[in-house]
């Protein structure tokens, strides 16, 4: 039974990674779960300079999910390289570093720094980042911005570059095509869905930033739809994510068109969630006589 996959020349021992932002760089969860058993570890976003992130409260629970505005707090690429790369070297899994930026140049800058560093296998651009240059919109809310930033990053790195897209668009297919045109080796779908909660006692939004991203099983059907639509639109592989809690969820994503999946918020409910997803996929394949996990990709089309 073949569980391993290959995305842009990078071998994953199985089709499961972490969704960026949910396990930081992996260390905090390491007493609970061995991330070396995953196909890949996707880090929290790192930016050129340190970002302090949002004011608190940063999260609010919702029905079957949570809205969050962490504000991409991170120590910046310098400290990231110093602090996390030695840790990654102890792990036996593909390392995907997610990059955030408020302007194109910063995406390029961080990509350049990571190109120089060692022990990194893939980059993932968080194109749900908002930019003042874009009138407060997100990079992946426009085909030109999406293609442009990817093309510029591709120029400075030989690492495969994954484009992580936002579902907060009218037409995910056209954005997916733009990412492919820009040189993305794969798409990560989806980032969180723009949302909010209000505290009816204080009469204020719960999040200090008012709005944030919705994650968790509540959004899984939206994420599946985006993967399904993008699969029809592009030829590059898709890493599906959004509310995956179980192997059944993951298999839905594979059938919708994903080659791999990311497990995110599920870690907060069960730190071993990603491992259990792998086990469940294996059990499903065994039960259904599937020899190679890639047979599941796009099976629902």
């Amino acid at each position: 039974m073949k569980l391993n996959i290959n995305i842009a020349g990078i071998e994953w021992k199985n089709p499961v990674t972490t969704a960026s932002g949910t396990v930081n760089s992996g260390k905090e969860y390491s007493p609970y779960v061995d991330f070396s058993k995953l196909g890949a570890l996707t880090t929290k976003s790192v930016s050129a300079k340190p970002w302090k992130g949002s004011q608190t409260p940063r999260i609010a629970e919702t029905y079957g999910g949570m809205v969050h505005s962490i504000g991409l707090q991170n120590p910046g690429i310098d400290e990231f390289i110093q602090r996390d790369i030695p840790y990654f070297k102890k792990l036996d899994t593909a390392i995907i570093v997610n990059i955030c930026a408020r302007e194109e140049n910063d995406f390029v800058e961080v990509a350049r720094r990571l190109e120089e560093a060692s022990g990194i296998h893939m980059l993932e651009l968080n194109l749900a980042c908002k930019s003042d240059d874009l009138g407060g919109f997100r990079f992946a809310q426009n085909t030109k911005w999406t293609e442009s930033v990817l093309a510029k990053v591709k120029k400075v790195t030989n690492l495969p570059v994954i484009a992580k897209l936002t579902p907060n668009v009218t037409d995910i297919a056209e954005i997916a095509k733009a990412a492919e045109a820009g040189g993305a080796c794969a798409l990560s779908l989806i980032n969180s869905v723009s949302a909010m909660r209000i505290n009816i006692e204080t009469r204020k939004p719960i999040l200090a930033s008012a709005m944030g991203g919705l994650s968790g099983p509540a959004i899984k059907p939206i994420a599946l739809r985006c993967v399904y639509q993008a699969y029809k639109a592009v030829n590059i592989p898709i890493i599906g994510m959004g509310g995956i809690m179980t192997g059944e969820d993951a298999i839905e994503f594979l059938m919708a068109g994903a080659t791999a999946v990311g497990v995110g918020m599920a870690h907060f409910i069960n730190p071993r969630a990603a491992l259990e997803v792998i086990e469940d996929i294996e059990a499903y394949m065994e039960k259904h006589g599937i020899d190679d996990v890639v047979e599941l990709t796009g099976a629902a089309h």
């Binding site: 969860y29 061995d34 302090k52 608190t56 962490i70 907060f268 071993r272």
Partner: protein, 268 residues
């Protein structure tokens, strides 16, 4: 792998879960293995059991009984999640992550201890008093508690098991001194150290009080949490920083805290 898997989610068996006062519940549950690791000041991330409310609720450890293998937690029904916990009956199972977070450090050189609890911040003071009493038999432990009214007062008798005195203040004067908890302090305190947990406004004033008198002061703070293990960066608090340009940086309450040296916190 250099990392070893040392922690996992556990299940406790509810032994008791009773209404204490107002909307405050007192729950005891069995988890013989995990109580061994618990230290005063740490908390448990308790899952609601309701699939619509997925995140665990951070709840301070009130007391551990190593012999019985039980945790005691006291929590207020502040929302739908804690309302689910209030429904648990003896024999029910409880899903828990933890204990997590930093503990109150007790210095054996200290003799005079002030433990200050505000409302639902009182529970962790009990295990702390117990710890101090065990570690320093000759300690003089003064406990100061503040509540809205006498109808909210909790743990007064429990604390007397370990404390030399328990002084209560209520906002409305229905029990003890009328006023806030700091009003109950002696005019010339000989506190070697202050420990506290309670509303942030109380902690802020207490921190000021301690700093003016150069008394070490440790406070347990609260913030909305998601992962409880330090990964998601939801539960941050501003901590003074010498290297940061703004003079402060965000630290994780679940990891660097919940117990902080009050001097390190950036009080707004």
């Amino acid at each position: 792998m250099d990392e070893r898997i040392t922690k996992e989610i556990f299940y406790g068996e509810v032994l008791e879960n009773k209404l204490l006062v107002g909307e405050v519940y007192d729950m005891t549950f069995k988890a013989p293995k995990e109580v061994q690791k618990a230290r005063a000041g740490q908390f448990l991330a308790i899952y609601t059991g309701n699939p619509s409310m997925l995140l665990p609720r951070p709840i301070s450890i009130c007391e551990v009984d190593i012999v019985q293998g039980t945790f005691r937690v006291i929590y207020r029904v502040a929302g739908h999640g804690t309302a689910e916990l209030a429904k648990l009956k003896p024999g029910d199972s409880l899903r828990v992550l933890g204990p997590v977070g930093t503990a109150f450090k007790v210095d054996s050189k200290h003799t005079n201890f002030a433990l200050v609890g505000g409302g639902i911040g009182t529970p962790p003071m009990l295990q702390l008093a117990k710890k101090i009493r065990n570690q320093i038999p000759h300690a003089y432990i003064s406990v100061y508690l503040g509540f809205r009214s006498k109808f909210q007062v909790i743990l007064e008798n429990d604390l007397m098991r370990y404390a030399n005195e328990v002084v209560v203040a209520t906002d409305d004067g229905t029990m003890g001194i009328k006023g806030n908890v700091i009003d109950t302090f002696p005019p010339d305190p000989n506190f070697d150290v202050i420990y506290s947990c309670g509303p942030s406004i109380m902690l802020k004033f207490l921190s000021q009080y301690a700093q003016e008198r150069d008394i070490p002061c440790y406070v347990s703070v609260e913030e909305y949490m998601a992962c409880s293990v330090g990964a998601c960066l939801a539960c941050v608090v501003k901590v003074k920083s010498k290297t940061d340009d703004d003079g402060w940086d965000y630290k994780r309450v679940c990891m660097t805290g919940p117990v902080f040296n009050s001097k390190e916190l950036e009080w707004k």
